[in-house]
Symmetry: C2
Amino acid sequence: MEHCSRSIGIFDSGLGGLTVMRQILEELPQESITYFGDTARVPYGNKSSDTILKYSIENSNFLIQKEVKALVVACNTASAYSLEHLQETFSIPVVGVIEPGVERALEATHNGHIAVLGTEGTIRSGAYQKQFARMKSGIQVTTIECPLFVPLVEEHFLSHPATKMIVKEYLAPLKGAGVDTVLLGCTHYPLLRSFIEEELGDDVTVIDSASSCSQKLRSILGEASLLANQNVIPKLQYYVSDDANRFKERAQEFLETSIDEVRTQCFGVNVE
Amino acid sequence: MEHCSRSIGIFDSGLGGLTVMRQILEELPQESITYFGDTARVPYGNKSSDTILKYSIENSNFLIQKEVKALVVACNTASAYSLEHLQETFSIPVVGVIEPGVERALEATHNGHIAVLGTEGTIRSGAYQKQFARMKSGIQVTTIECPLFVPLVEEHFLSHPATKMIVKEYLAPLKGAGVDTVLLGCTHYPLLRSFIEEELGDDVTVIDSASSCSQKLRSILGEASLLANQNVIPKLQYYVSDDANRFKERAQEFLETSIDEVRTQCFGVNVE
């Protein structure tokens, strides 16, 4: 197969990476995509760095076997703990969600005070803080752990008053803190964007790493001459590590499209 | 080692089983316990039956290697999907949380209309419905999935107004339904007991499967002459599959005792 007609591999702990996939479909509609959701081990945000690294390597090896031409780590926690390792290990381009998000936040900020919302794992990894420091000096970064956002999204409590209350509580430290830009450091969080924006008010710009990631991917594929031909019909394939039906149902709703098949790929579990 | 001085093995997907352990410590203070929390793969409630069965077998094999004299499946979802298999596979007594909870609920009900609250996995397994039917005819069982209760407990939102709001919403179908007994079909739920009781009012009895399980265990160990001698100093050991420090911190708080060591046992994940 010609390299450029191979698919883009995306992995996430579950559904959240579909926000990234949706942006990639919009930005690069001619590309084929192989998506892997690690639904047998979701969520990643409250697990340790070693465990996340192991899971990320397994997920990547699976996609590499599917001959993907590039790898998108569509999960902030996995990006935080595994991106460098994956970039060193594999010869194809590997794109995470942290660096693109940080780039966009730096473009957006006027006063240099940026807040990052993320899971416990992402925030405690220090990956965002390090990336900001690497790209620009003098930026003040405020981080906020929002561990309940992922379960609220997974359970469709998207516009529920309890969710609004929890958003209010998590964002309380930002009141009067002088932050002008807020980076959504988890691929689930764009689904709570309206509550977050409402709570922050009009003076704060909310940046979503999903869209920055797809722009980054486009430029990397372009530079490596790996963009798909316009005349190829793109193919979308979905794999999960558990409960394909549940994923299919939610993914169809989420991507607003019909999905033919979601296949199951188990690994790491040997029964007797 | 004499059989009766061996420890009782308990496993759960994470922290929730500690509500069962606490009851066992109270009911059987002379017993040694080996606890395993599968924190690398928590939660179980939204995963498939096959995956839960595999995880349960792995957890049990680990405890069997530790020479436990009995096995407690301190997780309702795991009990629902694996108890029969584990009882057939192992020669030591295996106790779940479903049957003891059902027994207690049947003792408590006057009008024969009982509600069971549980995770998606537990409720959809039909395990409670089947157990009620097996033990008594003519019982009306209303089941309610409460998928957000586990994350709310794990994140310490125990007395938060958002939690109260979510409890209210999940329990709304019980208003005026004529239920006189509510069974907490998840080991995390006793931590939300006060909100649940407040919402249900004084006329409804709330049953907690943790305490029924420890009573069942006591009688099974007694019948099998496996109760520990009074003059042996009991030993409590803790293992998790991920992030021992985080578990230690929360478990100490939860059991209101100090824990010397939590050890890590990984399985099922092979890196490269």
